[in-house]
Symmetry: C3
Subunit: 206 residues, 3 copies
């Protein structure tokens, strides 16, 4: 697919996820360094694990520093904007997060298929790229990762990843396959936010 | 040693550890995705860190997807079986876990010796393969890793790993050395379960 | 810079950080294995992540086992010394920790510049080498990493790393640049300990 468009989406997703890290850091009363670490971990954590597992080292943000600059700039901007709070409608953040998520899943699928052939691994790397950062963020913040407990979050990623790889498998070009996957992830996620959908949880006594 | 036998043991250990992840996920009321993640992390987490540290990338389950299929199948089977609870004797699970642990230590020793020479590192990689997954599982579940606090768990791995590498050092063939290590780890672990053995803990005030 | 001097500093920093891990394990009533794991994670955790991200695998302590021996010896010595408690002045430990931190930042900068060119990445790898181990230690001990919440800790590392790389950039030799960075990190850290300095924290409601 068009490299420059993919790259733009990637940096956009990085910024979105960085914001979610900053906001959590704010609730936990962290100092500015903690804010930047939590933002960075959320934004590039999933992709870092993906690259280390695939052996694509040095990992992506070591090769291309723009990811780090985007994170730093996002932190600064968020910190400044939040100091003079403008009332945002409640849905702005989850919707942005859903966009970032959908893009990151697609990017994980794309990048892993450049390095190996398995469709199953491609879907898994997509999910890891999308959800990994949030899981590390929640570990650092000492919470049971939200992704593991509730809502149609990971399921949206899996569905988007499967549609993306299936489209490639059936010969659809790289760009439309990517967009198809993004649309599926995003739609499911937005529906889950709008109607508070969640999977039944599995429960044991003991 | 006989590759196909080692491979069978490896997949068996993967299934056993996946079950222990599923059962913890059940206690924490996770959704199906959380169940699969906790199962996968327990089963392949230790080996993944081992491979990344050794530079054996792409790591093993990216190259051979059978590990992932075993985990998925184990999750499905466990979820179905647990819904119609048959009373299992209490010792079934710890004993299975001990078998998985003993096998994983041996596999970690074997795999690391193919990539480097140090006996000390081989023992350490055996312990990491055996205990690593459980540690990550406990971090995700927000518990202080059990392995770090109680029982003769890691000590059994260390003893098994030392016996395994010593046997190799004294010229014993790969297969019997592997089995010797497995027997040692397993015996110590079973004895610890049977008689509730544990090491004295180290305690500081402050 | 003089390799043997750098190596001495590196092992010294390893021992210092291992002690801080042992002391935390003592507060958490861990068994001897838990003590060694917490010590090891604190001492070599940051460098391990650095090497995996840079693709410098097998990572450093797999190639050179001396790091592991230093950790084992430090654990033994600390456990023995602590059993017959001699009253140490309160400032001994934080000061030692500050020395270890300053050295590790310099080593992270040095090692990463051997593998890639970016100054920004070099500073970041210095900070990661210095702070990473403590963060993993706190995760295992189920605490919100101290580094993320309080005191001029990471900021001292960043300042030291920037001075170190800037000195190299302006043509200063490797050894004096290293020492300059160490002195800056150490001075800021010691000042923060002495006068209880900390950054203002960022706080959000919700």
């Amino acid at each position: 697919m068009d490299i420059s468009l993919l790259y733009f989406f990637d940096l956009f997703g990085t910024a979105i996820f960085a914001i979610s890290g900053v906001l959590l850091a704010g609730r936990l009363k962290m100092d500015p360094f903690g804010v930047v670490v939590l933002a960075a971990v959320t934004a590039i954590g999933g992709g870092s694990i993906r690259d280390m597992m695939l052996g694509a080292t040095p990992i992506f943000w070591i090769i291309d520093n723009n990811y780090l600059w985007v994170i730093l700039l996002t932190c600064l901007t968020t910190l400044i904007l939040v100091r003079r709070p403008t009332k945002l409608p409640w849905y702005i953040l989850p919707v942005c997060d859903a966009i970032g998520l959908a893009v990151f899943v697609g990017i994980g699928v794309e990048k892993s298929l450049r390095l190996q052939d398995s469709m199953m691994i491609a879907v898994l790397m997509g999910v890891l790229t999308g959800c990994g950062g949030g899981i590390i963020r929640d570990i650092l913040a000492r919470e049971i990762p939200m992704v593991l407990r509730s809502e149609i979050y990971a399921v949206a990623c899996i569905a988007g990843g499967i549609v993306h790889t299936s489209a490639l498998y059936f010969g659809i070009d790289s760009s439309p396959a990517f967009l198809l996957g993004v649309v599926v992830t995003l739609s499911i996620r937005l529906a889950a936010i709008r109607w508070h959908l969640s999977l039944p949880t599995f429960q044991l006594k003991g």
